[in-house]
């Protein structure tokens, strides 16, 4: 009994993220953390709490306040034998680093025909619903899924957070790991103590169902689950919910199989609608499962507006009502 209990802990997502970094830093001396306030302060969300005490300031580095500097120097560190984990304090602060990411980190492998590679992870908290100031809550994953040479990963629960982050650190190429702030402390799940990886590029079927496939990620996963559970009570239809987990590359097989089974699909994301990842998901469904579709694929998304501040941010986020409305539209088609 005690041995089983010793192998798992109930952790929040932020604790699971810390655990992933700690696990990898213990195992591999080349893993470094660079970011603003990641040292003594343990990160503004405490993601790196305790790591400077354990690994020292040579491996957990409080950098100057300069996102391009963090990512740019990490390109050099990564090429020269280290595995940097860069922390962006918020996803909306990544814009100054965009140039380094798009012009160097992601194309170094090709520009050097494999001579130089950039095994780097950039972690960034994102998403609305935590009453943060302007810019902090931006959900701009689609800017990054469009960049060749970059994987984009987002967990929705503590178990996946640890496993996906370990897989990201072990990946030989740059990975953008975006963390839904709303999920950081909204629940604990069992997380194994040992090292394990959740394969990148694989979606998870969060809930099985027969009539509509809902494809979503990040904080919208839990919102969707709640909305659907409430709606399904007393209905003879059911939804299958898929957490995409990796936004580039998408898990084509899981999406295809589910849509072939249900014949209907709804994509839910909080990012702005135009140019969002939903476009790629729908395109993939058209390619892979067009003849199974009984209705056009619906989207429930944020607006093509800046993510609003506090007073309107909950109105911006896709609500349970909007998600269910889209589900019913596809069923009535």
């Amino acid at each position: 009994m005690t041995t089983v209990a010793a192998q798992v802990k109930k952790l929040t997502m932020i604790q699971a993220i810390t655990d992933a970094m700690k696990t990898m830093m213990k195992e591999d001396d080349s893993v470094l953390i660079l970011g603003e306030d990641v040292g003594i302060n343990g990160g503004v969300f405490r993601a790196t709490e305790g790591l400077i005490e354990e690994f020292g300031d040579e491996r957990v580095v409080d950098t100057p306040l300069a996102e391009s500097g963090i990512v740019g120097t990490s390109v050099g560190l990564a090429v020269n034998g280290f595995k940097p984990i860069c922390e962006m304090q918020f996803f909306g602060f990544i814009y100054p680093a965009f140039n380094q990411l798009i012009t160097h980190a992601t194309r170094m492998r090709q520009r050097s025909l494999g001579r130089y590679t950039v095994p780097m992870v950039i972690r960034a908290p994102y998403g609305a619903g935590v009453k943060a100031p302007e810019i902090h809550s931006d959900s701009v994953e689609a800017l990054f899924t469009h960049i060749p040479g970059l994987k984009v990963v987002t967990p929705s629960n503590p178990y996946d957070a640890k496993g996906l982050l370990i897989a990201s650190i072990e990946d030989p190429d740059p990975v953008l790991f975006i963390e839904p702030m709303r999920c950081y402390r909204t629940g604990r799940t069992q997380v194994p103590d040992e090292k394990y990886a959740v394969e990148l590029g694989k979606a998870a079927t969060v809930k099985e169902g027969t009539d509509v496939t809902i494809l979503t990620w990040g904080a919208m996963v839990q919102d969707t689950v709640k909305a659907v559970e409430k709606w399904e009570a007393g209905k003879d239809a059911s939804c299958e919910i898929i957490d995409l987990r990796t936004l580039y590359p998408l898990d084509k097989e899981t999406i295809r199989k589910s849509v072939e089974k249900t014949g209907r699909a709804v994509v839910v994301h909080e990012a702005p609608e135009t140019g969002g990842v939903s476009g790629d998901v729908i395109s993939l469904i058209n390619d892979a499962a067009f003849f199974y579709l009984k209705a056009p694929v619906q989207k429930v998304t944020g607006f093509d507006t800046p993510v609003p501040v506090y007073s309107l941010e909950l109105d911006y986020l896709p609500s349970a009502q909007k998600i269910i409305h889209a589900v019913e539209q596809t069923l009535q088609y």
Partner: protein, 354 residues
């Protein structure tokens, strides 16, 4: 500020030594001379090839040979070089092959690949971004407790970019063994120095970061070489970064795609060939020392011509790359998206006969 950062000169425009303690030996002077001659002949060759349509848009450097060659001779195997796409005089001096240089300008990825054992980054095309790579790479060397250093090249316009400041700041805060080597040729394409910055020198920008900074005569290869050597030695021995401003001049355009007579007096520029030219200066120095050897120089020119012709021939005999090269190096393992696009391309190009 100009007084605080005087331009360090070892040899004046007449080829006279102005620094008594400069080490000077005939063999080394000829090494400098040959490397600059090689760089200039290569630049001229590339310009001609571009005019003939045998390479793409070309980025020339004629006039900046002393700055690039002198600094490149001051670093060693195992050190890291971060060029821009104007700095092939530096990379070829450091050991990059001429064949690959031609390939680079033919738009071939192979052109960026340095010889085994030479740490040369692919040329940076965005401005100032490579300063951070140089800092990060040297930081890694410091963490590994090696004595290897980085040298990063950039122009005057680059000092307006955020990454210049972030690079200097990181290097300063973490005491990183990196040499920031600026070539100030007075213009960022068409924008003259005085419209680029109010500061009269670039070296003074190092003050803000507490980085030792120096201005050198960028057309005086002895000044460039010995001062870069000092900076490299300081970095190697744990003394941290240095900012070097090499004041120089480029005769030609920014690239083969622009016309400098639109934004500067090109006649004045051409007149500099008689005065500040870095190769002429070392010729005068050799003459003044009584070391000038016409026959040896002629032999050098012939050797370099042969080397360039061989390299050009080699580069022109390389077949066009297979498109698969493009799909192979985006990730370590291609994603399904890339594999599908590869297969789709191959299928459709067969169907449409392309």
């Amino acid at each position: 500020m100009e007084k605080q950062f005087p331009i360090v000169q070892y040899v004046d425009e007449d080829g006279q030594l102005v620094k008594d303690d400069a080490r000077l030996d005939k063999e080394q002077l000829y090494q400098f001379y040959r490397a600059m001659l090689r760089a200039r002949m290569m630049d001229k060759k590339c310009l001609n090839l571009q005019r003939q349509g045998r390479i793409g848009t070309y980025v020339q450097y004629e006039g900046q040979e002393a700055a690039q060659v002198g600094s490149a001779l001051a670093v060693e195997d195992g050190d890291w070089m971060f060029p821009t796409y104007r700095d092939h005089a530096a990379t070829m001096t450091f050991g990059h092959s001429l064949t690959n240089l031609f390939l680079y300008w033919k738009g071939r990825l192979e052109g960026s690949i340095p010889p085994e054992g030479k740490n040369i980054f692919p040329p940076a095309v965005p401005i100032a971004s490579q300063l951070l790579h140089a800092t990060g790479t040297a930081w890694a060397e410091k963490k590994k407790k090696s004595d290897r250093v980085s040298i990063a090249y950039f122009g005057d316009g680059a000092t307006s970019e955020g990454d210049f400041h972030e690079g200097l700041n990181f290097a300063s805060v973490f005491n990183i063994p990196v040499v920031f080597f600026n070539q100030n040729n007075g213009y960022a394409i068409s924008v003259p120095m005085e419209k680029q910055m109010k500061s009269k020198t670039i070296a003074q920008k190092g003050l803000a970061y507490d980085i030792p900074s120096i201005r050198v005569d960028g057309n005086d290869i002895l000044a460039v070489y010995f001062e870069t050597e000092k900076a490299v030695e300081r970095a190697r021995s744990g003394g941290g970064p240095t900012l070097i401003e090499a004041v120089t001049w480029r005769y030609g355009a920014h690239t083969t795609a622009d016309d400098p007579s639109k934004y500067r007096n090109q006649q004045e520029s051409d007149q500099r060939r008689q005065t500040t030219d870095p190769i002429l200066r070392i010729e005068r120095l050799l003459n003044n020392q009584g070391w000038w050897n016409e026959a040896a120089v002629k032999e050098m020119q012939e050797e370099i011509t042969d080397e360039m012709n061989d390299a050009l021939q080699a580069s022109e005999s390389v077949e066009k790359p297979d498109l698969n090269q493009l799909f192979d190096n985006v990730f370590a393992e291609p994603t399904w998206t890339i594999e599908e696009q590869r297969m789709k391309h191959n299928r459709i190009s067969k169907e449409v006969g392309q």
